[in-house]
């Protein structure tokens, strides 16, 4: 074959093939693991929080190419944000940064948002003094 065709756009494919921030964080300050009832995908995000900001983020994903790319992109986007900023993070940022996802795959980006928020909630539960900062 002379040309290569891809199921997703080049940004999504790139994040699928070379995911950023893949793995777990030792001594994570917050961990969130969520599952999507729609398709069965599972996403886990671990956060390191320093001075009220996300110092580091890692993900692990059981899911399709766009789920892996969404979690990779989400962890890239949220690094450096304050907890408040991160709490207002939406899946649309992931979709936009990835240059779009097929309509049937938008829920992958929602899962990334949910995993991030679950990780933040886990952190806030352990550090109630940080809430609202």
């Amino acid at each position: 074959m002379s040309d290569t065709y891809t199921l997703y756009n080049s940004t999504v494919m790139e994040h699928f093939m070379n995911p950023r921030n893949m793995g777990d964080l030792k001594d994570a300050d917050g961990v969130g693991e969520v599952g999507a009832a729609a398709c069965g995908d599972i996403m886990k995000i671990s956060l390191k929080i320093k001075d009220g900001r996300i110092a580091d983020a890692r993900f692990k994903t059981f899911g399709c190419g766009s789920a892996i790319a969404s979690s990779s992109m989400a962890t890239e986007l949220i690094k450096g944000r304050t907890i408040d900023e991160a709490m207002n993070f939406t899946n649309q940022e992931v979709v936009d940064a990835l240059g779009g996802l097929p309509p049937v795959k938008i829920h992958c980006s929602v899962l990334a948002e949910e995993a991030l928020k679950a990780a933040l909630e886990d952190y806030v539960k352990k550090h109630p003094e940080s809430a609202g900062k």
Binding site: E33, C39, F62
Partner: protein, 421 residues
Amino acid sequence: MRHVFLDHQSATPVAPEVFEAMRPYYTEYFGNASSLHQHGLRVREALKVARQQTAALINADSEEEIFFTSDGTESANLAIKGVAYANERKGKHLVVSATEHPSIMNSVEFLEKQGWTCTRVPVSPEGLLDLAALKAAITPQTVLVAVHHVNHDIGTIQRMTEVGAICTAAGVPLYVDCEASAGWLPVDVKAFGAALASFSPHRFYGPKGVGVLYRHKRARLVSILHGGVQEGGRRAGTENIPAIVGGGAAAALAQQRLAFRQEHTAALQRRLWDGLKTHVPYIKLNGPEPGPDRISTNLNLSTEFIEGEGQLLLCDLNGIAVASGSSCVSKSLKISHVLGAIGLDHALAQGNIIMTLGEANTVEDMDYTVETFAKIVTKLRGMSPMWDEFERGVIDSVINPTGRGKSFSQHAADISGKAAH
């Protein structure tokens, strides 16, 4: 990079001799078979030859029992709806196996909305139809039984002569979907006791755009496409002559090469499955083991702790074309109903891919696939929280339970707040 095509169930290349047979019917012999002049009469003759060739492949008595459609889906729609409508006054009950192709299942669902009822006969964990349940499902109102010869998803070969005997004894016509078998395994409509049977040449080195429906001359069938009187009035519309000619040529070629195809793919199937189960831990073959109950071309695999689409994408990036029956395939988020019907654990249904073999595949292709697939699985497991949780004893394996941790499905339900599917 090596290119390995392992999706022969979806398409095959048109064989050079088939292509050559088709070529003049695009340019030189372009006539419409309904025309009464030389141009029409010439292609009418070509249609007759193609009917004879396709009839011979399935041991039909006469070419008059062959109808050409556009593909397998149309054949299935015509068989199910055409028989149901033709026998409406006799009864409005249908019997199908629980693992028929969507073209059959969805045709049945369409009829159910119009007042027909249908019994779906269960299958064993290997996909074999429960014959006692089949027998029990047939009532005096039953007008059609539909059972596939070979399952499109998991490759199970049904006991067609026994299925046929049950239907014959009950006096109910049997429709046999041979889409996954014709061209690779002998099909004998007489031995099967089939009143109707369908297959598609694009699955065995013929072109797309033609489907074949066999109908025994005594089986009642009405048209579902209305227009002219082509195909004995059973299928209106201008015949796709080049594709039909190619379908006939592919059927003739299949008859010659059937023994080679079976032997060749059976050897590759064993090598591939042996290699995969040796080099990939926690992998399961869905459907029967390679042997008399499984078609030699199909491997349906579930690899635990990873999802199917990622496997497919990475295979593709490494030159290996496979099909994914998993939940997250682009167009459908549902798991295959066949995997549901054989009772496969949801976690395994999600990590499902299908490899289907063909003539051009080699031993080297199999070895490359095993080696590459093992690397892909390692890469995806490295990214999967489920693999990590399995290693830490949080969740257990379905394929090889260790006795520690909860089930994947339980875990998924706990964290999603809803039961998976």
